[in-house]
Symmetry: C2
Amino acid sequence: MKRLNRTAVSLVVGCMGFAASAVWAADSLQDVLKERGLSQQDLLAAAKTYVPTGKRDEYVAFSSGGQSGQVIVYAIPSMRILKYIGVFTPEPWQGYGFDESSKKVLAGGKIDGKDITWGDTHHPAISETNGEYDGQFLFINDKANPRLAVIDLRDFETKQIVVNPIFKSEHGGAFVTTNSEYVIEAAQYAAPLENKKFYPLEEFNEKYRGGITYWKFDRKEGRIDTAKSFSLELPPYSQDLSDAGKLASEGWSFTNSFCSERYVGGIEKGRPPYEAGCSAKDTDYMHVINWKKAAELVAAGKAKKINGHDVLMMETAIKEGILFLIPEPKSPHGVDVTPDGKNIIVAGKLDTHVSVYSFEKIQAAIKAGKFESKDPYGIPVIAMKDAIATQVSLGLGPLHTQYDSKPCIAYTSLYVDSQVAKWNYCEGKVLDKLSVHYNIGHLMTMEGDSTKPAGKYLVALNKLAIDRFVPVGPLHPQNHQLIDISGDKMQLLYDMPLPLGEPHYVVAIDAKKLKPAVRYKVGTDSRTDQPHPGATKAGEERTVKKGNKVEVFGTLIRSHITPETIEVEVGDDVTINLTNLERAQDETHGFTVSTFNVHASVEPGKTVAVKFKADKEGVYPYYCTEFCSALHLEMQGYLLVKPKGWKPTKTGGLAAQNYTEADYKATLKKVADTQAIIDSVVAYITSVNYKDFPEVVAMVDDAFDQLGKTKDIKVKHEAAFAKKDWENANLWAEQVWQYQVKTADLGLRAKTFLEQNGAKKVK
Amino acid sequence: MKRLNRTAVSLVVGCMGFAASAVWAADSLQDVLKERGLSQQDLLAAAKTYVPTGKRDEYVAFSSGGQSGQVIVYAIPSMRILKYIGVFTPEPWQGYGFDESSKKVLAGGKIDGKDITWGDTHHPAISETNGEYDGQFLFINDKANPRLAVIDLRDFETKQIVVNPIFKSEHGGAFVTTNSEYVIEAAQYAAPLENKKFYPLEEFNEKYRGGITYWKFDRKEGRIDTAKSFSLELPPYSQDLSDAGKLASEGWSFTNSFCSERYVGGIEKGRPPYEAGCSAKDTDYMHVINWKKAAELVAAGKAKKINGHDVLMMETAIKEGILFLIPEPKSPHGVDVTPDGKNIIVAGKLDTHVSVYSFEKIQAAIKAGKFESKDPYGIPVIAMKDAIATQVSLGLGPLHTQYDSKPCIAYTSLYVDSQVAKWNYCEGKVLDKLSVHYNIGHLMTMEGDSTKPAGKYLVALNKLAIDRFVPVGPLHPQNHQLIDISGDKMQLLYDMPLPLGEPHYVVAIDAKKLKPAVRYKVGTDSRTDQPHPGATKAGEERTVKKGNKVEVFGTLIRSHITPETIEVEVGDDVTINLTNLERAQDETHGFTVSTFNVHASVEPGKTVAVKFKADKEGVYPYYCTEFCSALHLEMQGYLLVKPKGWKPTKTGGLAAQNYTEADYKATLKKVADTQAIIDSVVAYITSVNYKDFPEVVAMVDDAFDQLGKTKDIKVKHEAAFAKKDWENANLWAEQVWQYQVKTADLGLRAKTFLEQNGAKKVK
């Protein structure tokens, strides 16, 4: 068949003439609307949320991944999910929990010496500078196994997990102070603070405690400093959400509670259940805490060590005047400080009001020593009337409040009414209501937790989806609804299913504030941000055997793994270090060894180690798990696990294909032809203003990187040719062609980009 | 403060007058387009993909989750992700790997006795009936640890994982035969077939083997029948993708290969790498197999047992005339049988052609015994010219082909060109090309693998995203692009980031063909589809202790867990069985016990068991992890792990709140007022044609379910009242109110729905 006797090159030519034109059919917009049953309002919503190819979203949202244990990153207004970040649960795509460095991060979250392989994430918080989101770090809690994680937004990787030393659960975290000095985490279900200590429920009031932990964040290190962190002992009221004071209320923090009835259920013994006893009274308590002074007291040695951790006991906090309570309406959830820090808005879930507390009034009461009573633990209680600015009736089940860029404007979720209420907290006036589907938990406006909310969009975090989406079995996705809040009336724009986990809270930041890296400095351990001891340069790859320990120092580059063979004996401990030598954006390689339960994601510049015991004889292929190039499937190798003391019986080399001089010459011709194509692409690219397109400059750099590799290889095939070693001559020449194909791939992508983006001829 | 002295009820009234109106601001569409920089073409694309709230998508796509080990379910044309299904990797949201039943499914995937906690999923396949997708089951492979999983689309849960008994890797699975008799899985990297058997690479040609496994699927059981499954031994060519014959080619299957050079790399020893040696020749081999006859041969006892599994050896296959090879162009990926089964289209990655093979010609050559040669293993090789219908030059890097609903129309991905080519395989003509961003791997049309492709949409699975989305660190999402193929010219509609895992292949089915359940029969073990031995009815909850084994038979319902206290001694083995008593759609409850690393997702009707050793003294809260109702946070309890032999020292009961008769009377008043509200909502609902709205009927049913529960509780508070037990009287009355709140919640949701959906007054 004659047409098979071609080199790919000649066909590159054939293809280049075929313009990649995106000719649009002459659809009438009206026809599409009619056919798809869309209204004019639907079209407007579509226009407000659609982000065309090549353009980017305005905001990036970080959502708790609920029981998935992860963080979900999505884009606004398109509501497209950009990433699930592995946090508390091992996640193989990212190699998280499958390579040695990330295993150490997860090991930081061990409790009582045991691995916890999931988390119930609730409240993400972005690091702040002067009360504004700075886009540097993200914090998130685990309610089930009280822990806190730190994610670095330079690479969107989890760097640290710390275990709360005194709690058994914690819902109210993470919340940051205005310069991220501390990350606040409040207990939920009371328990004895001493670890592994049992007290019967009959001693609930005396021995069970709540509390708040202030985790000290070391911004320079990008890690929590556990030694400088401390907690406050609190009564066994179920502490719930918190918020840090800001501007006017700087240095204070606020934490609400439910079940301040201290009711203990026991439906199995005929007692009314928790739900009845925990919501019997009309008010619970907001905790008002002077955390700045608390930190000073701890520094002054006034804390008690519990489980090796500094705990400021209630007695001390009361004596030193840093802890107060104020009644707040029935089983509240959100406690939200206004952007100016002057007010604290509490939503009582089983009440219909939101209550606006005045920080000024609270301070006046404290200064005047004006308390209506003490709670059973001796904490002074400020009368609600002495603390409150106003109350506004919004509807059934107010849950959480967020702020607009416009002064005095707030949005509160109404769980039972399944609505969002827009209202003015200065004038105490309801402005608008919008029905959502269905029961809404938290809501979130752009940068709505900060001192400078951005307005524009609001997301309603509905806790049920029911019939919103094509059904996918008894377990439904959640539904986050995007709402336009730029006008007087709220407009529902988009329904977004959440495919994994049940998010509790979300924070969103202006996308321009995020400046993540696209590569690491070569040889970086991404989990420590330090040089990786297993890092290897090109040409220095090696396998070192000491006793029964085998350590490989390898590299990855399009499209081969060095080494391609790893030989060990049964029972050897094997460590494989791999450095990705790529510089190009998105040129990630993955790595696994068949059936040994290891996996690494190795982004450009990263070094990763995987480790396992070669406890079974056999032949185990390894390969690159990311589709990295046309020759991706050939990016492979073999781990050979030999019986102990095995000696080769066959002395011959590997099978050869009997290549001839003609094969070599044919390959050389293909190489020359391909070079001509590359030259013509280069000629086109340099004939236009490609330097004005950073994307293209990066591709051109990468293309020349690839082409640059052919030099050394050329020496090899010519040397083999000189020795009439046709196999090596031909195959090294083939290798030159492989690099040319990668070069052409990049060049063609660059050319298409330039053509589509209006590149102009230059001199 | 007078305004605090309210019952929630009076405020329900206040809210009801406030209409939940979605008044739209008078945005001009033109202003929005201008502000957001959208073209008319963008608007058309937006209109073609936007799915407004309350409406549903047309198609459902099942995507491999790549190295995440999961399956991704997304909707077309909105490209919203509906669910990640836990398959090879434990996933806590779904309780997958954290409850006992799902642990057993994962344990089915153990290799050499060890847990494998991830997978590299590649090719999903939907079960077929007469070659058409039937929407009943989904199959997916794990390349790294050769395994196959079965997902039941009634509940979107993984039911079974089977381990390939002879391979060390497998890329080319899953592909189903036309009635899902078999699921095809082909090896990739050759290795000795005997388990844990080492042979040196010098014996590659003699001792390393590829192969194909035909897993027998028992549709009635919904499981693979491993005893009736078999494999075919093949040469150590890297077998790649497969496809089953259909209609004209029923009973046959086709598998391509790369590296038929049998090249063994060793760059670390100075040898050219695999990428050079594996792509040196211009052709590889397509394997043509008569699987129907192979199955008969196995049934007739002609297979050899390897690792306890039936393997039809090459020698037998050759002798019996069921195995043939045909040269195919350079390192192909996709092998795709046309909808009528008459042709097989192969895309050679390093070639520019797609090759259309004729099944009729192949059969004619076989019948005539017309072979051009034998391969080194004696397999007859049919000449390409005797098998091929036509070849069409499409461009650089053709990879995979899918079919349109229109006859003879195919779409092929071009990896190096980053394009999709639309062409006519009958006339051998290129019809259109569209540039995608960037390198495209597989592509997929609606039901494009079946005998009846649906056309309409095509998805391009781009392997790199580079600069498409807001950057999220060095590890980028993939980019699936939606393309409209309904017209003559392809139109790019949407860029969709994939947030977790690197998908390899996707299949899409008409959403109407999926009929998943919204609840289980009460007491079902969802992983076995059998009644769960731990199932419990309401009122029969109990804790059973035998020696050091404690077994709890509990229930879950809005908003309490029964029991609310579990008492054990240190060292006890604890099993907690939980049945979700809800009937309402989407009323899932979750369950965890602090720090014991268990989690269950319990959808309506499901029974789940979690198990752990209570190996540490202490107090461990447990709670519902799904935000299921307004009182969700109060859905809690305590696991008390007592020291061995602990005896209570305090004899008193639990702390009481000193409730009075006045409290009870106030609660009764609140209950009466709330009932009046419920009555008014009911009056509204029954005044309109609510029965015409199935969603509302379901809500009304659920509401009356909730209200119905108050009867028994009323008896309790009245009995307590009679005994002047004010605490119990008040709290049971509060419990009545809790059920009323749930009733009102549902009633208000129903009312809003009716108002928004044009309910009409009835007599």
